[in-house]
Amino acid sequence: MSEILKLEDLSKSFEGITPVKDVSFSINKQSITLITGENGAGKTTLFNLITGLEKPTKGHVHFNGTSLTGKSALDIARQGVIRLYQQPRLFKNLSVWENLVSAAHRNSGDNFLSLIFNNRAVKSEETKLKQKAIDLLRKFGLEDLSDQNAGELSYGQQKLISFCMIAMNGTKLALLDEPFAGLNPQTIDRLSDMIVKMKEEGMTFIIIEHNISRALKISDSHLAMREGSLVRE
Protein backbone atom coordinates (compact mmCIF):
# COMPACT_ATOMS: atom_id res chain seq x y z
CA MET A 1 0.00 0.00 0.00
CA SER A 2 1.31 3.47 -0.84
CA GLU A 3 2.15 6.15 1.64
CA ILE A 4 -0.32 9.03 2.07
CA LEU A 5 1.17 11.01 4.98
CA LYS A 6 4.76 11.42 6.10
CA LEU A 7 5.95 13.48 9.05
CA GLU A 8 9.67 14.31 9.27
CA ASP A 9 11.19 15.58 12.55
CA LEU A 10 8.09 17.65 13.26
CA SER A 11 8.47 19.98 16.24
CA LYS A 12 6.55 22.84 17.74
CA SER A 13 7.84 25.18 20.43
CA PHE A 14 6.38 28.28 21.99
CA GLU A 15 7.20 30.21 25.13
CA GLY A 16 9.74 27.64 26.28
CA ILE A 17 7.36 24.68 25.89
CA THR A 18 7.78 22.02 23.21
CA PRO A 19 4.44 20.20 22.91
CA VAL A 20 5.66 18.23 19.84
CA LYS A 21 9.29 17.05 19.63
CA ASP A 22 10.92 15.53 16.53
CA VAL A 23 7.93 13.40 15.60
CA SER A 24 8.47 11.26 12.49
CA PHE A 25 6.17 8.60 11.11
CA SER A 26 4.39 7.69 7.92
CA ILE A 27 0.91 6.37 7.23
CA ASN A 28 -0.33 4.22 4.39
CA LYS A 29 -3.43 4.85 2.33
CA GLN A 30 -6.62 3.10 3.44
CA SER A 31 -5.40 2.54 6.98
CA ILE A 32 -6.58 3.47 10.46
CA THR A 33 -3.88 4.73 12.83
CA LEU A 34 -4.60 5.20 16.50
CA ILE A 35 -2.65 7.79 18.46
CA THR A 36 -2.85 7.56 22.22
CA GLY A 37 -1.26 9.43 25.08
CA GLU A 38 -2.14 11.23 28.28
CA ASN A 39 -3.60 14.71 28.28
CA GLY A 40 -0.84 17.15 27.34
CA ALA A 41 1.13 14.51 25.41
CA GLY A 42 0.95 16.65 22.27
CA LYS A 43 -1.70 14.76 20.27
CA THR A 44 -3.94 17.75 19.59
CA THR A 45 -0.95 19.97 18.72
CA LEU A 46 0.15 17.27 16.28
CA PHE A 47 -3.30 17.44 14.62
CA ASN A 48 -3.03 21.23 14.55
CA LEU A 49 0.35 20.97 12.79
CA ILE A 50 -0.92 18.49 10.19
CA THR A 51 -4.05 20.55 9.43
CA GLY A 52 -2.17 23.87 9.28
CA LEU A 53 -3.86 25.48 12.27
CA GLU A 54 -0.37 25.86 13.74
CA LYS A 55 2.95 26.20 11.91
CA PRO A 56 5.78 23.82 12.88
CA THR A 57 8.96 25.27 14.36
CA LYS A 58 10.90 22.52 12.63
CA GLY A 59 10.26 19.58 10.33
CA HIS A 60 7.97 18.79 7.43
CA VAL A 61 4.57 17.29 6.64
CA HIS A 62 4.14 15.55 3.29
CA PHE A 63 0.74 14.53 2.00
CA ASN A 64 0.44 12.40 -1.12
CA GLY A 65 4.03 13.30 -1.98
CA THR A 66 3.61 17.09 -1.73
CA SER A 67 4.73 19.26 1.16
CA LEU A 68 2.03 20.77 3.35
CA THR A 69 4.53 22.80 5.37
CA GLY A 70 3.67 26.50 5.31
CA LYS A 71 0.30 25.96 3.63
CA SER A 72 -2.82 27.51 5.15
CA ALA A 73 -5.47 25.44 6.94
CA LEU A 74 -7.83 26.17 4.04
CA ASP A 75 -5.36 24.93 1.39
CA ILE A 76 -4.67 21.78 3.38
CA ALA A 77 -8.40 21.07 3.83
CA ARG A 78 -8.88 21.60 0.07
CA GLN A 79 -6.33 18.83 -0.55
CA GLY A 80 -8.59 16.43 1.33
CA VAL A 81 -7.13 16.52 4.84
CA ILE A 82 -10.18 17.03 7.04
CA ARG A 83 -10.36 17.19 10.80
CA LEU A 84 -13.35 16.23 12.89
CA TYR A 85 -13.47 17.76 16.34
CA GLN A 86 -14.58 16.04 19.51
CA GLN A 87 -17.79 18.08 19.51
CA PRO A 88 -19.65 17.51 16.23
CA ARG A 89 -19.68 20.73 14.23
CA LEU A 90 -22.86 20.73 12.18
CA PHE A 91 -24.72 23.65 10.64
CA LYS A 92 -27.47 23.59 13.21
CA ASN A 93 -30.04 25.72 11.41
CA LEU A 94 -29.85 23.62 8.23
CA SER A 95 -31.47 20.25 7.59
CA VAL A 96 -29.36 17.08 7.58
CA TRP A 97 -29.31 16.75 3.79
CA GLU A 98 -28.41 20.44 3.50
CA ASN A 99 -25.50 19.81 5.87
CA LEU A 100 -24.26 17.03 3.64
CA VAL A 101 -24.64 18.99 0.42
CA SER A 102 -22.85 21.95 2.06
CA ALA A 103 -19.97 19.63 2.82
CA ALA A 104 -19.56 18.61 -0.83
CA HIS A 105 -16.06 19.47 -1.97
CA ARG A 106 -17.12 21.12 -5.21
CA ASN A 107 -20.39 22.90 -5.77
CA SER A 108 -20.59 25.45 -8.56
CA GLY A 109 -23.68 26.92 -6.89
CA ASP A 110 -21.41 28.37 -4.20
CA ASN A 111 -20.29 30.93 -6.76
CA PHE A 112 -22.47 33.99 -7.33
CA LEU A 113 -21.51 34.36 -11.00
CA SER A 114 -22.30 30.70 -11.72
CA LEU A 115 -25.69 31.19 -10.08
CA ILE A 116 -26.47 34.10 -12.38
CA PHE A 117 -24.96 32.91 -15.66
CA ASN A 118 -25.10 29.14 -15.39
CA ASN A 119 -28.19 28.51 -13.30
CA ARG A 120 -29.26 25.40 -15.20
CA ALA A 121 -25.96 23.62 -14.53
CA VAL A 122 -26.11 24.70 -10.87
CA LYS A 123 -29.62 23.22 -10.51
CA SER A 124 -28.58 19.97 -12.14
CA GLU A 125 -25.51 19.69 -9.88
CA GLU A 126 -27.65 20.47 -6.83
CA THR A 127 -30.08 17.66 -7.72
CA LYS A 128 -27.18 15.21 -8.09
CA LEU A 129 -25.60 16.29 -4.80
CA LYS A 130 -28.89 15.96 -2.94
CA GLN A 131 -29.34 12.46 -4.33
CA LYS A 132 -25.77 11.58 -3.33
CA ALA A 133 -26.45 12.89 0.18
CA ILE A 134 -29.61 10.82 0.52
CA ASP A 135 -27.85 7.71 -0.84
CA LEU A 136 -25.09 8.22 1.69
CA LEU A 137 -27.58 8.56 4.54
CA ARG A 138 -29.34 5.42 3.34
CA LYS A 139 -26.06 3.50 3.22
CA PHE A 140 -25.49 4.23 6.91
CA GLY A 141 -29.13 3.75 7.90
CA LEU A 142 -29.70 7.43 8.61
CA GLU A 143 -32.14 8.33 5.80
CA ASP A 144 -34.95 9.01 8.27
CA LEU A 145 -33.00 12.01 9.54
CA SER A 146 -32.66 13.57 6.08
CA ASP A 147 -35.18 16.41 6.50
CA GLN A 148 -34.61 16.98 10.20
CA ASN A 149 -32.97 20.13 11.43
CA ALA A 150 -29.40 19.27 12.45
CA GLY A 151 -29.77 21.28 15.67
CA GLU A 152 -32.59 18.96 16.78
CA LEU A 153 -30.51 15.77 16.56
CA SER A 154 -29.10 13.94 19.56
CA TYR A 155 -25.35 14.16 20.25
CA GLY A 156 -24.79 10.66 18.85
CA GLN A 157 -26.81 11.37 15.71
CA GLN A 158 -24.84 14.57 15.18
CA LYS A 159 -21.60 12.58 15.34
CA LEU A 160 -22.86 10.06 12.79
CA ILE A 161 -23.95 12.88 10.46
CA SER A 162 -20.58 14.59 10.77
CA PHE A 163 -19.02 11.36 9.46
CA CYS A 164 -21.42 11.36 6.51
CA MET A 165 -20.27 14.93 5.85
CA ILE A 166 -16.62 13.92 5.48
CA ALA A 167 -17.66 11.09 3.18
CA MET A 168 -19.63 13.63 1.11
CA ASN A 169 -16.61 15.94 1.06
CA GLY A 170 -14.43 13.37 -0.67
CA THR A 171 -11.98 13.40 2.22
CA LYS A 172 -8.75 11.50 1.67
CA LEU A 173 -7.30 11.72 5.17
CA ALA A 174 -9.59 12.22 8.17
CA LEU A 175 -8.19 13.25 11.53
CA LEU A 176 -10.61 12.26 14.26
CA ASP A 177 -10.33 13.85 17.67
CA GLU A 178 -11.89 11.49 20.23
CA PRO A 179 -14.68 10.18 17.98
CA PHE A 180 -16.09 7.85 20.67
CA ALA A 181 -16.22 10.40 23.50
CA GLY A 182 -19.67 10.81 25.03
CA LEU A 183 -21.27 8.01 22.98
CA ASN A 184 -23.13 4.94 24.20
CA PRO A 185 -21.77 1.46 23.22
CA GLN A 186 -24.38 1.01 20.45
CA THR A 187 -23.46 4.29 18.79
CA ILE A 188 -19.74 3.50 19.17
CA ASP A 189 -20.39 0.21 17.32
CA ARG A 190 -22.26 2.03 14.61
CA LEU A 191 -19.55 4.66 14.27
CA SER A 192 -16.84 2.00 14.18
CA ASP A 193 -18.68 0.25 11.34
CA MET A 194 -18.91 3.53 9.46
CA ILE A 195 -15.17 4.18 9.85
CA VAL A 196 -14.27 0.68 8.66
CA LYS A 197 -16.65 0.96 5.68
CA MET A 198 -15.18 4.34 4.72
CA LYS A 199 -11.68 2.91 5.00
CA GLU A 200 -12.62 0.06 2.69
CA GLU A 201 -13.85 2.65 0.20
CA GLY A 202 -10.50 4.45 0.21
CA MET A 203 -10.35 6.85 3.13
CA THR A 204 -7.44 6.99 5.57
CA PHE A 205 -7.93 7.77 9.27
CA ILE A 206 -5.82 8.99 12.15
CA ILE A 207 -7.68 8.72 15.43
CA ILE A 208 -6.94 10.25 18.82
CA GLU A 209 -8.92 8.27 21.35
CA HIS A 210 -8.88 7.55 25.07
CA ASN A 211 -11.22 4.56 24.70
CA ILE A 212 -8.18 2.54 23.63
CA SER A 213 -9.63 -0.96 23.76
CA ARG A 214 -12.52 0.03 21.48
CA ALA A 215 -10.34 1.99 19.08
CA LEU A 216 -7.74 -0.80 18.84
CA LYS A 217 -10.43 -3.12 17.45
CA ILE A 218 -10.60 -1.09 14.23
CA SER A 219 -7.01 0.23 14.06
CA ASP A 220 -4.27 -1.08 11.78
CA SER A 221 -1.46 0.60 13.74
CA HIS A 222 -0.98 2.26 17.09
CA LEU A 223 1.29 5.19 17.96
CA ALA A 224 1.78 6.39 21.52
CA MET A 225 2.95 9.86 22.54
CA ARG A 226 4.46 11.11 25.77
CA GLU A 227 5.62 14.67 26.49
CA GLY A 228 5.53 15.57 22.81
CA SER A 229 7.55 12.60 21.54
CA LEU A 230 6.58 9.37 19.90
CA VAL A 231 7.34 6.61 22.41
CA ARG A 232 5.96 3.59 20.61
CA GLU A 233 5.36 2.76 17.01
Binding site: A77, Y85, R89, L90, F91, K92, N93, G109, D110
Partner: protein, 289 residues
Amino acid sequence: MNYFLHISVLLEIYILLALSANQKVGLSGLLTLAQAVFYGVGAYVTAILITKLGFSYWLAMPAALLTCVLVAFLFSFIAGKVRDLYFSLATLAIQIIFFSIVYNWISLTNGPYGIAGISSPEIFGLKINSPGSFALFGAVWVLFVVLFYIWFLKTPLCRMIQATRDDQIAVLSLGKNPNYYKGVSIIISAVIAGIAGTLYATYVTFIDPSSFTLDESILILSIVLIGGAGGIIGPISGALIYILLPELLKFMKMPDSVAANMRMILFGLLLVLIVRFKPKGIFGKYLIK
Protein backbone atom coordinates in the same frame (compact mmCIF):
# COMPACT_ATOMS: atom_id res chain seq x y z
CA MET B 1 -54.26 60.26 -0.47
CA ASN B 2 -50.87 61.96 -0.80
CA TYR B 3 -50.21 61.24 2.85
CA PHE B 4 -50.95 57.54 2.35
CA LEU B 5 -48.60 57.48 -0.65
CA HIS B 6 -45.90 59.26 1.37
CA ILE B 7 -46.22 56.59 4.07
CA SER B 8 -45.97 53.94 1.35
CA VAL B 9 -42.67 55.39 0.10
CA LEU B 10 -41.23 55.44 3.63
CA LEU B 11 -42.42 51.88 4.14
CA GLU B 12 -40.70 50.79 0.92
CA ILE B 13 -37.43 52.43 1.99
CA TYR B 14 -37.57 50.73 5.40
CA ILE B 15 -38.46 47.37 3.88
CA LEU B 16 -35.32 47.62 1.75
CA LEU B 17 -33.24 48.65 4.77
CA ALA B 18 -34.66 45.81 6.88
CA LEU B 19 -33.99 43.25 4.13
CA SER B 20 -30.45 44.57 3.74
CA ALA B 21 -29.81 44.30 7.49
CA ASN B 22 -31.37 40.83 7.51
CA GLN B 23 -28.84 39.73 4.90
CA LYS B 24 -26.00 40.55 7.30
CA VAL B 25 -27.62 39.81 10.65
CA GLY B 26 -30.09 37.05 9.82
CA LEU B 27 -28.35 35.13 7.06
CA SER B 28 -24.71 35.79 7.95
CA GLY B 29 -24.93 36.26 11.72
CA LEU B 30 -22.92 39.48 11.48
CA LEU B 31 -24.41 41.80 14.05
CA THR B 32 -23.81 45.14 12.39
CA LEU B 33 -24.26 48.52 14.01
CA ALA B 34 -23.49 50.37 10.80
CA GLN B 35 -26.24 49.57 8.32
CA ALA B 36 -26.98 53.30 8.04
CA VAL B 37 -23.49 53.73 6.57
CA PHE B 38 -24.50 51.96 3.35
CA TYR B 39 -27.83 53.79 3.37
CA GLY B 40 -25.86 57.03 3.76
CA VAL B 41 -23.26 56.17 1.12
CA GLY B 42 -26.06 55.40 -1.36
CA ALA B 43 -27.82 58.67 -0.53
CA TYR B 44 -24.73 60.91 -0.42
CA VAL B 45 -23.07 59.59 -3.58
CA THR B 46 -26.37 59.97 -5.45
CA ALA B 47 -26.88 63.49 -4.07
CA ILE B 48 -23.32 64.66 -4.78
CA LEU B 49 -23.25 63.26 -8.32
CA ILE B 50 -26.65 64.73 -9.17
CA THR B 51 -26.20 68.18 -7.60
CA LYS B 52 -22.48 68.78 -8.17
CA LEU B 53 -21.74 66.89 -11.38
CA GLY B 54 -25.14 67.02 -13.02
CA PHE B 55 -25.51 63.25 -13.30
CA SER B 56 -28.93 61.77 -14.00
CA TYR B 57 -30.37 59.34 -11.45
CA TRP B 58 -29.65 56.45 -13.79
CA LEU B 59 -25.93 57.30 -13.82
CA ALA B 60 -25.71 58.34 -10.17
CA MET B 61 -27.49 55.22 -8.88
CA PRO B 62 -25.03 52.63 -10.30
CA ALA B 63 -22.11 54.80 -9.16
CA ALA B 64 -23.63 54.96 -5.67
CA LEU B 65 -24.12 51.19 -5.58
CA LEU B 66 -20.56 50.65 -6.78
CA THR B 67 -19.32 52.89 -3.96
CA CYS B 68 -21.39 50.80 -1.52
CA VAL B 69 -19.65 47.69 -2.87
CA LEU B 70 -16.25 49.31 -2.28
CA VAL B 71 -17.20 50.18 1.31
CA ALA B 72 -18.50 46.61 1.65
CA PHE B 73 -14.99 45.35 0.86
CA LEU B 74 -13.75 47.23 3.92
CA PHE B 75 -16.47 45.55 6.03
CA SER B 76 -15.58 42.16 4.50
CA PHE B 77 -11.95 42.68 5.44
CA ILE B 78 -12.98 43.42 9.03
CA ALA B 79 -15.37 40.45 9.09
CA GLY B 80 -12.46 38.26 7.96
CA LYS B 81 -10.33 39.46 10.86
CA VAL B 82 -12.72 39.73 13.81
CA ARG B 83 -15.88 37.94 14.89
CA ASP B 84 -18.96 38.31 17.08
CA LEU B 85 -18.80 41.20 19.54
CA TYR B 86 -15.55 42.49 18.04
CA PHE B 87 -17.17 42.72 14.61
CA SER B 88 -20.07 44.68 16.13
CA LEU B 89 -17.63 47.05 17.85
CA ALA B 90 -15.69 47.53 14.60
CA THR B 91 -18.91 48.40 12.76
CA LEU B 92 -19.79 50.81 15.55
CA ALA B 93 -16.46 52.54 14.94
CA ILE B 94 -17.13 52.71 11.18
CA GLN B 95 -20.58 54.17 11.84
CA ILE B 96 -19.04 56.92 14.00
CA ILE B 97 -16.28 57.58 11.43
CA PHE B 98 -18.83 57.79 8.60
CA PHE B 99 -20.96 60.28 10.52
CA SER B 100 -17.88 62.39 11.32
CA ILE B 101 -16.87 62.43 7.65
CA VAL B 102 -20.25 63.53 6.29
CA TYR B 103 -20.65 66.03 9.13
CA ASN B 104 -17.22 67.63 8.79
CA TRP B 105 -16.26 67.32 5.10
CA ILE B 106 -18.20 70.47 4.33
CA SER B 107 -16.69 71.08 0.86
CA LEU B 108 -18.11 67.75 -0.31
CA THR B 109 -21.17 67.04 1.81
CA ASN B 110 -22.07 70.54 3.01
CA GLY B 111 -21.78 69.15 6.55
CA PRO B 112 -24.73 69.72 8.88
CA TYR B 113 -26.43 71.99 6.31
CA GLY B 114 -26.98 69.01 4.06
CA ILE B 115 -27.44 68.78 0.32
CA ALA B 116 -30.61 70.25 -1.17
CA GLY B 117 -32.08 70.29 -4.64
CA ILE B 118 -31.51 66.62 -5.49
CA SER B 119 -33.45 66.06 -8.68
CA SER B 120 -35.88 63.19 -9.04
CA PRO B 121 -35.42 60.23 -11.36
CA GLU B 122 -36.87 60.32 -14.87
CA ILE B 123 -38.14 57.43 -16.94
CA PHE B 124 -38.63 58.11 -20.66
CA GLY B 125 -38.85 61.82 -19.96
CA LEU B 126 -41.42 61.42 -17.17
CA LYS B 127 -40.29 62.84 -13.84
CA ILE B 128 -40.91 60.63 -10.83
CA ASN B 129 -41.57 63.41 -8.37
CA SER B 130 -45.12 62.95 -7.11
CA PRO B 131 -45.79 60.72 -4.09
CA GLY B 132 -47.84 58.41 -6.31
CA SER B 133 -45.20 57.94 -8.98
CA PHE B 134 -42.50 57.55 -6.34
CA ALA B 135 -44.54 54.98 -4.42
CA LEU B 136 -44.80 52.99 -7.64
CA PHE B 137 -41.09 53.44 -8.36
CA GLY B 138 -40.21 52.30 -4.82
CA ALA B 139 -42.61 49.36 -5.11
CA VAL B 140 -40.77 48.19 -8.23
CA TRP B 141 -37.48 48.19 -6.30
CA VAL B 142 -39.05 46.36 -3.34
CA LEU B 143 -40.57 43.80 -5.72
CA PHE B 144 -37.19 43.36 -7.39
CA VAL B 145 -35.44 42.76 -4.05
CA VAL B 146 -38.19 40.44 -2.73
CA LEU B 147 -38.08 38.38 -5.94
CA PHE B 148 -34.31 38.28 -5.63
CA TYR B 149 -34.66 36.83 -2.13
CA ILE B 150 -37.35 34.32 -3.11
CA TRP B 151 -34.76 32.98 -5.57
CA PHE B 152 -31.61 33.56 -3.54
CA LEU B 153 -32.80 31.86 -0.31
CA LYS B 154 -33.01 28.55 -2.19
CA THR B 155 -29.56 28.74 -3.76
CA PRO B 156 -26.48 26.75 -2.69
CA LEU B 157 -24.64 30.04 -2.12
CA CYS B 158 -27.22 31.26 0.40
CA ARG B 159 -27.06 27.87 2.12
CA MET B 160 -23.28 28.23 2.47
CA ILE B 161 -23.75 31.77 3.81
CA GLN B 162 -26.05 30.32 6.48
CA ALA B 163 -23.64 27.44 7.11
CA THR B 164 -20.88 30.01 7.70
CA ARG B 165 -23.19 31.81 10.12
CA ASP B 166 -23.77 28.56 12.03
CA ASP B 167 -20.13 27.43 12.24
CA GLN B 168 -17.38 29.07 10.27
CA ILE B 169 -14.67 26.75 11.63
CA ALA B 170 -16.63 23.79 10.26
CA VAL B 171 -16.83 25.53 6.87
CA LEU B 172 -13.06 26.09 6.92
CA SER B 173 -12.45 22.48 8.01
CA LEU B 174 -14.38 21.32 4.93
CA GLY B 175 -12.02 23.25 2.65
CA LYS B 176 -14.29 26.21 1.97
CA ASN B 177 -13.43 29.83 2.59
CA PRO B 178 -15.81 31.38 5.17
CA ASN B 179 -14.53 34.88 4.35
CA TYR B 180 -15.79 34.52 0.79
CA TYR B 181 -19.32 33.74 1.98
CA LYS B 182 -19.27 36.57 4.50
CA GLY B 183 -17.92 38.94 1.83
CA VAL B 184 -20.66 38.06 -0.68
CA SER B 185 -23.29 38.55 2.01
CA ILE B 186 -21.92 41.94 3.02
CA ILE B 187 -21.83 43.09 -0.62
CA ILE B 188 -25.46 42.02 -1.25
CA SER B 189 -26.52 43.78 1.94
CA ALA B 190 -24.59 46.93 0.96
CA VAL B 191 -26.18 47.10 -2.47
CA ILE B 192 -29.73 46.77 -1.10
CA ALA B 193 -29.11 49.44 1.57
CA GLY B 194 -27.54 51.59 -1.16
CA ILE B 195 -30.72 51.28 -3.27
CA ALA B 196 -32.70 52.49 -0.23
CA GLY B 197 -30.28 55.42 0.05
CA THR B 198 -30.67 56.46 -3.59
CA LEU B 199 -34.45 56.27 -3.23
CA TYR B 200 -34.42 58.35 -0.04
CA ALA B 201 -32.16 61.07 -1.48
CA THR B 202 -34.19 61.49 -4.65
CA TYR B 203 -37.56 61.27 -2.89
CA VAL B 204 -36.87 63.75 -0.08
CA THR B 205 -34.57 65.83 -2.41
CA PHE B 206 -32.61 66.93 0.67
CA ILE B 207 -30.25 64.92 2.85
CA ASP B 208 -28.19 65.76 5.90
CA PRO B 209 -26.11 63.63 8.32
CA SER B 210 -28.97 63.29 10.84
CA SER B 211 -30.59 60.59 8.69
CA PHE B 212 -27.55 58.31 8.82
CA THR B 213 -26.62 58.19 12.48
CA LEU B 214 -25.95 55.36 14.91
CA ASP B 215 -29.57 55.76 16.03
CA GLU B 216 -30.70 54.93 12.50
CA SER B 217 -28.46 51.84 12.39
CA ILE B 218 -29.87 50.63 15.71
CA LEU B 219 -33.41 51.34 14.51
CA ILE B 220 -32.84 49.24 11.35
CA LEU B 221 -31.46 46.43 13.50
CA SER B 222 -34.44 46.68 15.85
CA ILE B 223 -36.86 46.40 12.92
CA VAL B 224 -35.20 43.07 12.00
CA LEU B 225 -35.21 41.93 15.64
CA ILE B 226 -38.93 42.62 16.00
CA GLY B 227 -40.01 41.19 12.65
CA GLY B 228 -37.61 38.26 12.85
CA ALA B 229 -34.36 37.44 11.08
CA GLY B 230 -33.45 34.84 8.48
CA GLY B 231 -36.41 35.05 6.08
CA ILE B 232 -38.30 37.59 3.97
CA ILE B 233 -41.55 38.01 5.92
CA GLY B 234 -39.82 38.93 9.20
CA PRO B 235 -37.97 42.06 8.04
CA ILE B 236 -40.99 43.22 6.00
CA SER B 237 -43.33 42.83 8.95
CA GLY B 238 -40.83 44.65 11.19
CA ALA B 239 -40.81 47.59 8.77
CA LEU B 240 -44.63 47.53 8.61
CA ILE B 241 -44.87 47.72 12.41
CA TYR B 242 -42.37 50.58 12.62
CA ILE B 243 -43.99 52.68 9.90
CA LEU B 244 -47.65 51.92 10.65
CA LEU B 245 -47.44 52.22 14.45
CA PRO B 246 -47.79 56.07 14.49
CA GLU B 247 -50.72 55.79 12.08
CA LEU B 248 -52.51 53.58 14.60
CA LEU B 249 -51.78 56.18 17.27
CA LYS B 250 -53.59 58.75 15.14
CA PHE B 251 -56.77 56.72 15.51
CA MET B 252 -56.36 57.31 19.23
CA LYS B 253 -56.60 61.08 18.51
CA MET B 254 -53.06 61.61 19.67
CA PRO B 255 -51.45 64.87 18.44
CA ASP B 256 -48.56 64.42 15.98
CA SER B 257 -45.98 65.87 18.41
CA VAL B 258 -46.93 63.30 21.06
CA ALA B 259 -47.39 60.45 18.56
CA ALA B 260 -43.79 60.76 17.31
CA ASN B 261 -42.38 60.25 20.81
CA MET B 262 -45.01 57.66 21.67
CA ARG B 263 -43.98 55.67 18.61
CA MET B 264 -40.43 55.29 19.89
CA ILE B 265 -41.67 54.41 23.41
CA LEU B 266 -44.03 51.74 22.04
CA PHE B 267 -41.41 50.47 19.62
CA GLY B 268 -38.91 50.18 22.48
CA LEU B 269 -41.47 48.41 24.65
CA LEU B 270 -42.27 46.01 21.82
CA LEU B 271 -38.56 45.31 21.41
CA VAL B 272 -38.24 44.43 25.11
CA LEU B 273 -41.29 42.15 24.93
CA ILE B 274 -40.00 40.43 21.79
CA VAL B 275 -36.56 39.82 23.30
CA ARG B 276 -38.19 38.40 26.44
CA PHE B 277 -41.01 36.30 24.99
CA LYS B 278 -40.22 35.68 21.33
CA PRO B 279 -36.46 36.04 20.91
CA LYS B 280 -36.51 34.98 17.26
CA GLY B 281 -38.88 37.85 16.45
CA ILE B 282 -42.44 37.57 15.15
CA PHE B 283 -41.58 35.61 11.99
CA GLY B 284 -37.96 34.83 12.73
CA LYS B 285 -36.12 31.74 11.57
CA TYR B 286 -32.84 32.49 13.26
CA LEU B 287 -32.02 33.63 16.78
CA ILE B 288 -29.73 36.66 16.58
CA LYS B 289 -26.81 36.24 18.99
